[in-house]
């Protein structure tokens, strides 16, 4: 009987070894773990892989030089295949088993939306979601705004900028092609609000199912656009579906301008469309405008971009994820991922890691999770070398550092900045 009581007591107290590993909100002695749940193997994998690679291009040399106050900064990545249920499982694992310091650079709105209530459930442990790769409102307005910090501008800001520019050149009938889920709805809502400011309404809409591939036919959605005859179409999707939609639109001679949001993944979309152009000998890449939330990765006048390009060149092979995560069903030539040398998304990942490091440096030698939010809010104005002012905290307790939206178009097979004066060329004839 006493033996049984001892066993029960031991079971209730838990494994002393694992208890030692867990640090109850302190960073462990040797490393600071960041938890990342993203799609590394399914339809949006290029977004997540590039975001991770960009972050690692910053963290690898940082760790090689000794880390932050002697602690290595480590990303613990889990694959969620862009599926909310898997994101929930990963988030619980990261918080309960891996005891990460913070959740970092989650990819996608539907996945983030399901993870945020879990953070609220664990509010006593002070977990925060830092710099998710989404511009949705969910982590920007109550009840979840206190659980997160953003570096990037929101979808509402991207959408407002696109609409204001289109309306200014007399393109007022704006339709939307969107993913039928929380991400698509976020973009749809942003478009609705932006048009409402001009007294306009969405001209029409077409949806697609999350995970739809490039090879699929989007004729049904294009037929809707043909019937609507919009002045412009805004796409709120991922790169395979948006690229497929643009291809089918142009094949059916629907030639109005098409705009995409930053989450689409311009680089990956351009890669698909350029390959399709070669096959069909048609033009799929002109009359495309892409809003971005970081400066152009080609603009070497921006100090952070110079640093980023240098790091991407130097650590190209060392910053890739393990094959076990990328190819859960085995690696095949068909599924092999060819990383992009540079891109908007890896630049955003790089800046996310740089910003997290700046925060960590302000937390001193013994960073505690409970102090993270206060440290970020105390940052005020700061500079990441992006060539634009950034700030957290202040009178409005800002939790989004940047409000800036950039616009790019494809010229000579690559994205270049679209200046404010250049929108005139898009005027409705």
């Amino acid at each position: 009987m006493p033996t049984l009581a001892l066993l029960l007591a031991a079971a209730l107290l838990g494994d002393p070894a694992s208890a030692k590993e867990k640090t109850a909100g302190n960073a462990s002695q040797s490393e600071i773990r960041l938890g990342m749940s993203a799609d590394f193997s399914a339809s949006a994998r290029a977004l997540s892989i590039e975001l991770y690679r960009g972050a690692m291009a910053y963290l690898l040399p940082l760790n090689n030089a000794g880390g932050v106050n002697g602690k290595q900064v480590v990303i613990k990545p889990y694959d969620d295949q862009y599926e909310p249920d898997l994101a929930v499982r990963n988030t619980l694992k990261l918080m309960d088993e891996d005891d990460v310091f913070a959740l970092f650079s989650y990819v996608g709105t539907p996945t983030m939306n399901r993870a945020l209530p879990l953070l609220q459930m664990h509010h006593d442990k002070h977990f925060l979601l830092l710099f998710p790769f989404t511009g949705a409102d969910t982590n920007r307005i109550p009840p979840y705004d206190q659980l997160s910090f953003n570096l990037r501008a929101s979808y509402d800001q991207e959408m407002k900028g696109l609409v204001d520019h289109f309306v200014a050149v007399n393109r007022t009938r704006i339709a939307v092609f969107y993913q039928a889920d929380a991400y698509g709805r976020a973009g749809w809502g942003g478009l609705r609000r932006a048009l409402d400011e001009h007294g306009l309404e969405i001209a029409g809409e077409a949806t697609y199912r999350r995970g739809s591939p490039f090879d699929q036919s989007y004729d049904r959605q294009v037929a809707i656009m043909q019937r609507l005859q919009p002045d412009a179409v805004v796409c709120v999707g991922t790169y395979p579906a948006c690229a497929g939609f643009v291809r089918d639109m142009r094949d059916r001679d629907v030639d109005c301008p098409v705009a995409t949001l930053s989450f689409v993944g311009g680089g990956a979309m351009l890669k698909l469309l350029s390959a399709a152009e070669q096959e069909s000998n048609r033009d799929y890449t002109s009359r495309l405008v892409s809003s971005q939330v970081v400066p152009s990765y080609n603009d070497e006048s921006v100090p952070a971009v110079r640093e980023y390009r240098e790091a991407m060149d130097r650590y190209r092979d060392a910053i890739m994820l393990p094959d076990s995560l990328l190819y859960p069903h085995g690696k095949t030539a068909e599924r092999e991922y060819a990383p992009l040398p540079y891109g908007f998304i890896s630049l955003e990942g790089y800046l996310n890691a740089k910003l997290f490091t700046a925060i960590l440096q302000r937390m001193g030698a013994d960073p505690r999770r409970a102090d993270l939010a206060a440290t970020v809010l105390a940052m005020g104005d700061f500079d990441l070398g992006m060539g634009q002012p950034l700030s957290f905290g202040g009178e409005t307790a800002r939790r989004q550092a940047s409000d800036k939206v950039y616009y790019t178009v494809v010229r000579d097979g690559r994205f270049v900045a679209l200046g404010d004066g250049e929108w005139e060329a898009w005027a409705k004839p």
């Binding site: 709105t109 409102d137 969910t138 109550p142 009840p143 889920d181 929380a182 976020a186 749809w188 809502g189």
Partner: protein
């Protein structure tokens, strides 16, 4: 010969009667099941819509479309559940 014809007619009548009864019963059954299923779907849909509306007032008031869509999507995973989005200029 006369008896045989009488039997033939009776037999035909019996089969016709059975056929009619089967057809009527089937129609009645299909109609009842259809009405019951439609009623169940309507009740479930109303219950889901009401539970989303009642438990997410904050999201609705703040027009947090994305978070609302996430909640709707969780119900859509149930087989047989689909939804129609209706909206006005202000709501």
């Amino acid at each position: 010969m006369r008896i045989a014809r009488f039997y033939q007619k009776t037999l035909f009548g019996v089969f016709a009667m059975i056929g009619l009864i089967v057809a009527l019963t089937s129609a009645l059954y299909v109609n009842t099941v259809d009405r019951q299923l439609t009623g169940d779907f309507l009740n479930n849909s109303r219950a889901i819509a009401r539970s989303i509306a009642d438990s997410n007032v904050d999201l609705i008031v703040r027009k947090n479309y994305s978070a609302l869509q996430s909640i709707i999507d969780q119900f859509v995973e149930i087989s047989g559940i689909s939804y129609v989005l209706s909206w006005t200029r202000t709501a």
